[in-house]
């Protein structure tokens, strides 16, 4: 008795033969042929329906339901990360309030549209309101132009008018008179923050106290708990069979490589074993898989160090070279104080000038003074621009003081990650200087991936920044895993080869994951095929 497949194969051949032998000369011939085709088409459409229904059900029956629930864990981690951010002992109220992030946005205003820039100004004002400071136009008198723009800005903000056309018009008018208006608004905010520093410090201190009391933990406890949760997340979040099914469905892995007879599978197994192991030897294979899992995590961590090595090297060059390390911390502090008093002095000078400008422009009759007001405005813009340079120097010194506070001979990679994580402005500056970044979005991508890496408390590679070079860290990994019978060579850890090396490890780990589950490679292949049919059908329908 023939099975359905054999019958179909035979039937299709005979039907094709039949159609090819039917006459098609006349209209009647053609009608007869078409009628016969329709008849067969209908029968086969019915076959297809039944087969489709059957294979879909069968494919579903192979599916492995993912019972993991990482949402609660992710929520706990997120709450603890907020506490970690506020309790972080390495930075100040300035970073905790997020002022550094906003200043970075202002100083890169060329990458923003006008509306986004207004949102940044708005966020500054919101932060002042958080500490009960209501800013008004008399707070924005850094220059005449700053006052002109910010007065309109505050008015529009107060009226809750979402239409910024009027503001755009005012901005454009000012911009042609004073193209540095944005930098000067930045300085105005910097001055206001310095003036109200105590209120911000008190606000953060109160927040810290509340968090400590409410959660009954200090910074160290918080890190300990986070470390446990990250490890738990790594264990739960480890790729499982459901993940493999999803990846295969998306076409992100080739199931054909999973079959026992696959050349890729065979060569991957043998290429990763120093001494070949008997697959039947379960304890030896278990150890092999366990080592591969650890190696994968180490290589991923190493890949991050490779990714951020330009940043690490830039830091070494700037702050850890012998000539720089001799810079005395006291000297740097002294320079910071000097710059601070210079800024105060210059701002007082500018303030006096502004008083004259505002005094003259408020007069009802402007006669002789009209010319001198223009001169005063030009002079005030010049002074504000000089102040901007002073602030730039101040910012550089500020970070230097922070760095000198923590660096020593044992300053390790993890300390460097933490330092840049704590100072967002300087991290982004360093990223911009270390990579060829084309736009702001790309910079944010680097910055976010850096933070994710820096926050991960399961990183294990320990190395002083001074001694860091990619090759030596790679050698440590190679030496360790060759002892565990894993065949890993220098070339595997070349930056351009890391991804493919991880994929080779993944292939073996995924096969093992499938083998220890109720799924088989053939079932996985079947799920993928049926999924392709469904997608094709959907696409055809859409056409």
């Amino acid at each position: 008795m023939a099975n359905f497949l054999e019958y179909i194969e035979e039937d299709i051949q005979s039907k094709k033969l039949l159609f090819s032998s039917m006459p098609v000369k006349t209209k009647t011939n053609k009608r007869k042929l078409n009628a016969k085709i329709d008849e067969v088409y209908n029968a086969y459409s019915e076959y297809k329906k039944s087969i489709k229904k059957y294979i879909e059900l069968k494919s579903k029956s192979f599916n492995v339901i993912d019972n993991r629930n990482t949402a609660d864990l992710a929520d706990k981690i997120s709450k603890l990360e907020n506490i970690r951010f506020i309790l972080n002992p390495s930075n100040t109220y300035f970073e905790k309030m997020g002022f550094d992030t906003l200043f970075y946005q202002i100083s890169n205003s060329q990458d923003f549209n006008f509306s986004s820039l207004n949102s940044v100004f708005n966020e500054f004002i919101n932060k002042f309101e958080m500490v009960n400071i209501k800013l008004n136009k008399s707070d924005f008198i850094y220059t005449y132009y700053v006052n002109q723009f910010m007065s309109s800005f505050l008015e529009i903000r107060k009226s809750n008018n979402k239409n910024i056309d009027q503001l755009t018009e005012i901005f454009e008018k000012i911009y042609w008179e004073n193209p540095e208006i944005i930098s000067h608004i930045e300085l105005n905010f910097r001055k206001l923050i310095r003036k109200n520093e105590k209120k911000f410090i008190d606000y953060i201190n109160k927040l810290k106290k509340e968090l400590i009391e409410k959660n009954n933990m200090d910074y160290k406890n918080c890190l300990n708990q986070l470390s446990i949760l990250y490890q738990e997340m790594n264990t739960i979040g480890k790729e499982n069979v459901s993940d493999i099914i999803e990846l295969a469905k998306k076409g992100e892995l080739d199931v054909n490589h999973f079959f026992e007879e696959s050349k890729v599978r065979v060569s991957t197994y043998s290429s990763l074993m120093l001494d070949s192991l008997n697959i039947e030897n379960e304890p030896a294979m278990h150890k092999f898989y366990e080592s591969l899992e650890k190696l994968k995590n180490n290589v991923k961590e190493y890949a991050n160090y490779v990714k951020f090595s330009p940043l690490i090297n830039d830091f070494k060059l700037k702050y850890l070279m012998k000539s720089n390390s001799e810079i005395n911390k006291n000297d740097a502090n002294k320079r910071l104080k000097e710059l601070e008093s210079q800024i105060d002095k210059n701002e007082n000078k500018l303030n006096k000038l502004n008083k004259k400008i505002f005094g003259t422009t408020n007069k009802f009759f402007i006669t002789k003074e009209k010319t001198s007001t223009v001169d005063l405005k030009i002079e005030s813009v010049k002074q504000a621009t000089e102040l901007y340079d002073l602030y730039q120097k101040y910012n550089e010194e500020y970070f230097k003081v922070m760095v000198l506070d923590v660096v020593n001979n044992n300053f390790a990679l993890k300390d460097l990650l933490h330092l840049y994580y704590s100072f967002d402005y300087y991290k982004k500056e360093a990223i911009k200087n270390s990579y060829e970044i084309n736009n702001y979005d790309e910079l944010i991508e680097y910055s976010d991936s850096f933070d994710l890496f820096a926050l991960d408390l399961t990183n294990v590679i320990v190395c002083p920044v001074n001694a860091f070079d990619e090759a030596s860290v790679a050698q440590v990994i190679i030496n360790k895993y060759r002892l565990l019978n894993i065949n890993i060579i220098n070339e595997d850890l070349y930056p351009e080869n890391i991804d493919s090396f991880i994929e080779r490890i993944n292939l073996i780990l995924r096969i093992q994951e499938i083998e220890k589950s109720q799924l088989t490679v053939e079932k996985l292949w079947f799920i993928v095929q049926v999924n392709k049919y469904l997608i094709n059908e959907l696409e055809n329908k859409q056409k």
Partner: protein, 54 residues
């Protein structure tokens, strides 16, 4: 018609078991592919009506 030896066996051979559960996963995929491809072939083989007279 005279009885020929083996006639019963031929009839038996031509019977078809439509039970899909008898097929392996590979065979099921082949079956679906064959049917789908044949349906496309049928659509392409059909001749459009012309005004040609008999």
């Amino acid at each position: 018609m005279k009885y020929k030896k083996g006639d019963n066996m031929n009839k038996e051979e031509k019977k078809v078991d439509f039970d899909l559960s008898l097929l392996t996963l590979n065979e099921l995929v082949n079956l679906y592919d064959n049917v789908t491809n044949f349906l496309s072939y049928l659509s392409e083989t059909k001749i459009e009506d012309t005004k040609e007279e008999d």
